[in-house]
Structures are given as structure tokens and as C-alpha cells.
């Protein structure tokens, strides 16, 4: 379970006005964001570019510390106990790269070991995730020259190999072909059935509508709306989630007005 409570975070931008600290130089990325992602559910975060999604997720990983508020993973505070909290997380970050001089198998092995797996357990887990994500043919090739989709798969494999209780995925389907997207969806659905907590951000509305049990809409660093896709459509009086999304955001930003 992932819980985010009243997060505030602002960044100081250098060089705007002679480097002086004033309100114009401060970018408020998070402005009291709160939500909960429950076990056994897939929670989607929706929001326009710059709404604070990545900042929120980075706070969850413990890379950024919030100015105010807190985030917990399975009840463990990410600021007080980042290593333990991260051990319960599988992370697919916003930006990712591969170690191009390692093979796919070695990378997955590396991350599995970082999560403390070893011996036969580790071996089995790696074989399993490679099979699940249909990476078999690529496993023993160096990752230099992998296509975008293949890179995504390796990154997914390395974030899922230790079967974390909580998955956080930042736009996991960008650049994936239809087949791979389906593989990923099935994978996530399987983990959901097993009672894992899955939190992912996306810009693809059909995907969110098809996959998510609950949707959280973030705008201007605040929670704009939340509920099941159907509830959100009802709330906005639209039939399509996309329309509902634009309306719910727009009311805040003056786009729809």
C-alpha cells in the first residue's frame, strides 16, 4: 500500500532574477497532494505535463524530500527509512538507461542482487521474469543496440524481478508495441490478482480506462479528482474518460472555459 499525505514541494530556479530568492523563482511542483493506492488494485495517476507526477513519484522513491507532508510504503516512511521502503518497491522510472556493456540477463541479475536475492531463488526469479516478459531471445545479448521497446522490457524485468509488493511505473507503455503492451497488461493484472499494489502514470486514456481500478487526477500539484474511471466520467458528465479528464483539469486551468 502506498500512501501520500499532503505533499508539498517547491523548487528554486536559479538565474531568473539575479539569483534572488523570491516568489517568482519558486516553482511549486506539489501543493498538498494526498492519495492512497491500495493493495490488490491498479491505481492510475493522470495529469497534464508538469502537473507534478514525476516529482510525486520521485518523492516516493526517496530521491526528493518533501517540504511538508509524508509518503509511506506499507506503512514505512520513505524519508525516515528510505532503504527499507525502497526494498518494498519495484520502480520503473521516468528516465531510464541500460548498462550497455552488460547483457540483459546480467542487468536483471544485478538488480535482483541489489534486492538481496541470491542463489537458486534468484536464478529462478530471473528465469521467471524473462519468460513472463518474453525476453528469452535477448537475455544473453549485450543491451547496446536494443530497440526502445526492448529496452523498456529489460527495465521492466529488472524492476519486477524481486516481485515487490508495490510497483510504481512512470509511463510504462510509451514506445511499446501492441504485443508488448498486452504482455505488460497481463503481467500487471496477474500481480493485482495476487494482491500487489500497482501505481502507474500514463497518458493513454484507453489504457487507464481498461486497466485501472482507481484513477487519480493531478493538476498543479494538487489532487483534482479521484475515483473509478466510471465515477470520473459521471462526475464530469461525459462518456469518454478523455473528455472527462480534460474537463476536470480544464475547470482548474481555465482551458475549458
Amino acid at each position: 500500500m502506498i500512501e501520500v499525505n499532503n505533499l508539498h514541494k517547491s523548487f528554486f530556479i536559479k538565474g531568473n532574477k539575479g539569483g534572488k530568492k523570491d516568489k517568482h523563482n519558486n516553482v511549486k511542483a506539489l501543493d498538498g497532494l494526498s492519495f492512497t493506492a491500495k493493495d490488490g488494485e491498479i491505481t492510475g495517476i493522470l495529469g497534464p505535463n508538469g502537473a507534478g507526477k514525476t516529482t510525486c513519484l520521485r518523492t516516493l522513491y526517496g530521491l526528493l524530500s518533501a517540504d511538508e507532508g509524508f509518503a509511506t510504503i506499507d506503512g514505512i516512511s520513505v524519508t525516515e527509512n528510505p532503504l527499507e521502503a525502497r526494498a518494498k518497491l519495484g520502480i520503473f522510472p521516468d528516465k531510464f538507461g541500460l548498462y550497455e556493456r552488460l547483457t540483459a540477463y546480467e542487468q536483471i541479475d544485478y538488480f535482483a542482487s541489489l534486492h538481496g536475492m541470491s542463489g537458486q531463488t534468484k536464478k529462478n526469479a530471473i528465469e521467471q521474469v524473462i519468460e513472463d516478459l518474453e525476453l528469452g531471445e535477448l537475455a544473453h545479448r549485450k543491451t547496446v543496440g536494443f530497440s526502445q521497446g526492448q529496452r523498456m522490457k529489460v527495465t521492466l524485468a529488472q524492476s519486477l524481478v524481486h516481485q515487490p509488493q508495490n510497483f510504481v511505473l512512470d509511463e510504462p507503455t510509451r514506445g511499446l508495441d501492441v504485443m508488448s503492451t498486452r504482455v505488460l497488461r497481463n503481467h500487471l493484472a496477474k500481480f493485482k490478482a495476487k494482491g500487489h499494489c500497482i501505481l502507474f502514470s500514463s497518458h493513454v486514456m484507453q489504457e487507464v480506462a481498461a486497466l485501472c481500478d482507481r484513477v487519480i487526477i493531478v493538476a498543479n500539484g494538487k489532487l483534482a479528482a479521484q475515483g473509478t474511471p466510471q465515477e470520473l466520467c459521471d462526475l464530469a458528465g461525459e462518456t469518454l474518460l478523455e473528455e472527462a479528464f480534460v474537463k476536470l483539469i480544464g475547470s482548474d486551468e481555465g482551458v475549458a472555459a
Partner: protein, 395 residues
Amino acid sequence: MKSNMNLHLIQFKALILKEYREAFRDKRALMVALMMAFLAPVVIMMMSKIMIENIVDEPAVYIKFNGAAYAPKLITRFADNNILDFSDVPKDKKAIWEQRNIVIDIPENYATDMAEGKPIKLHLQADFSDKAVQTPVRRIGNIVSRFSNSIGYKRLLLRGIDTRLLNPVKLIKQDTAKPDATFMLISMMLGIYLMMAAFMSGLSVAIDSSAGERERNVLEMLLCQPVSTLKIVIAKLISASTISIIGVVLILVLTSLSVGFVDLTKIGATFSLDLSTIAVLLLLLIPICFFASACQLFVAFQTKSFKEAQSTVGLLIGIPALIPVVVSMMDDRPVWLNWLPIAGQSMIIENIFKGVDINWLAVFATSAVTITITVALVLALAKKLKSEKVVMALS
């Protein structure tokens, strides 16, 4: 508690294994890194060959004599000492000696003045500030004064005077320097070279595993994992300094092999890199390897991009290149200088090559200070990696 220990071990093993894999698989960077090591024996052999030639053989010197016909005996004496007339210069060296342009004027009345016992003035013209001219000029001076003395002694002897009267006080020189000290320049160069190699060899690995990883977006992934930043930093440090230690060991081995091919006995040097010397040098240099890599990682993580890292970290090579030179030029060295990294080691290495007995206290003191600074750098870097600033530099 035991499972906790186990977790640390598994993580640490994985981190180091991965750093090693990346470092050793980048063959091209590795070759560049170890280039210094492979060049060392070549450079040192060439340098010693040239030096020995200059010291031992008296290479032919070509001089423009004006009035050579007036003093045939003097010219023969010059020729015996390989100082020849410019007209005999071989074609390939003509330009060099034309440029050095050493001229000796022998006066017309040389023979008559000699017969009458009058002082004769020979004029030697050359650009004395030119280093290449200094040795020939010194040789000419020696030959002329010896020639002049021998004639003078003969004159006195003919008049029945003991020539010892001319030398009431005689200075007898006893060289107490150990034979090795004659080889100082090469040994000092080797010392600087070794320390530069400690900095150079690990350089590419240090930059690649810090600024390079950040540029390739893999650092963020790593920082999100349940691993302490201290472990990450130590793993990177071990990997980079391993390469730098390999570089240093290669230099030592290759140099000790190649020095055997140069006949140093010609200049009375018994320079040798035996096993015990190599062991002491390694004891001194291994802390430097760690220190160098720690400095490089520390600086590389502060920079904003890979390119900036390359140029900034490159400047660090100035430390091992300049400090030993500055230290060796200082006459009154403050005591604390002996304990600083690089400065301390460079003085000890200088003494080792001089053949002076090793001051073990200094060895351990300077090693301890070097290791302490390295540890401080590692801890500071581990703390820095936790801060938001580094994360902000990610995007």
C-alpha cells in the same frame, strides 16, 4: 542480524561485479587508460639512452676554425677529443651545427707568440644560453686549459722547476653519493610518472562510472534501489582504483624489465628495480591510487555533464605532475609537507631512488593521511549522493 550481514554482502558483491564488468568490457577506454603504462618503458629507455650517450660518449662536435693552419698541434689535440672542423660535418648534421655556430678564432701570430712565450688569445664565439652549446663549450674549455697547462709545465720543467709548485693546494674529491644518485633525473621522472599513472589509469573508469552513468540515466535507477549510497561509492572507488593499481603495477614491471636492456654501468649507475623496491613503491602508491580515484569520483559527481567532468577531472592530473616538482625545488620544506598525500610520497620515492634508507615512520604517516583523506572524500560523496541537488542534476 546474520541475514542483514548477508544482504550487505550480496549487494556489495553485485555492485562490485557490475563495476568490474563495465570497466573491463570497455576495451578501448581500458587501452587508453593503460597506455601510459605501456609507454613508460619506451620513454624511460629512450631517455636513458640519450642521457647515456651525452654523458659517456663524447659525440663529435663541429666547430668553425678561423686560422686552423696557424696551430696544427692544437687542432690535432681537438681532433683527438672528437672536436672536428666544420668542413668535415656529415650532411645530416650540417644544419644543426650551422645553427649552433661555434666559432674559434686562432690568431695569425700564434706560432711566433708561442715560440716567444707570449700569451695567446683564442676567441670562442657561441650562443652560451643555448643548452646544446654548453657541453661542447665546456669540452673546448677543458681541452684548451689542459693543452695550455701541458705546455706550461714543459716550459717550467725545461727551466728546472718542480711543477708541483704550481699546485700548492689540491682538492681531493670523494663522492659519497650512492651510485644510484647519479641516475637521479630518470628516477625522479619515474617517481612523477608513477604518480601520474595512478591518476591517469583510473581516470576514464572514474568518469564513466559517475558522470557517464548519470548521463546514460542509469544512476537514477541505482539511487532508487534499496542500497546505501556509501556502498555504491565504495564499489565505484574499488573499480576505478583497481584499474589504476593495474596501471602502476604494469609500469613497475615493464620498467624493471626494460631497464635491463640499457647498459647503465657506463655511467656508473646501478639502478635496479628489484622486488623489494617494487614492494615498497607499491605500498606507497596503492593509497595514492585510491586517493586519486576518490578525488576523481568526487569531482566528476559535482559536474553537470560528462563533458564538464572530462575537462574538470583532467585538471586533477596537475596534482601529481606539479607537486613533486614544487616540493623538490623547495629548500626548507616544512615538516607537515612530509605528511601530505603526493608531496610526502614523492619525497619518499625520491629517497628510495637515491638509495637513502627508507624512513618507515614517514611512509606510514603519509599513507595514513592519504587514506584518511580518501575516506573523508568517500563519506562526503556518499552524503552528497543522498542530497536533492545530485538528483536534480539528473533531469
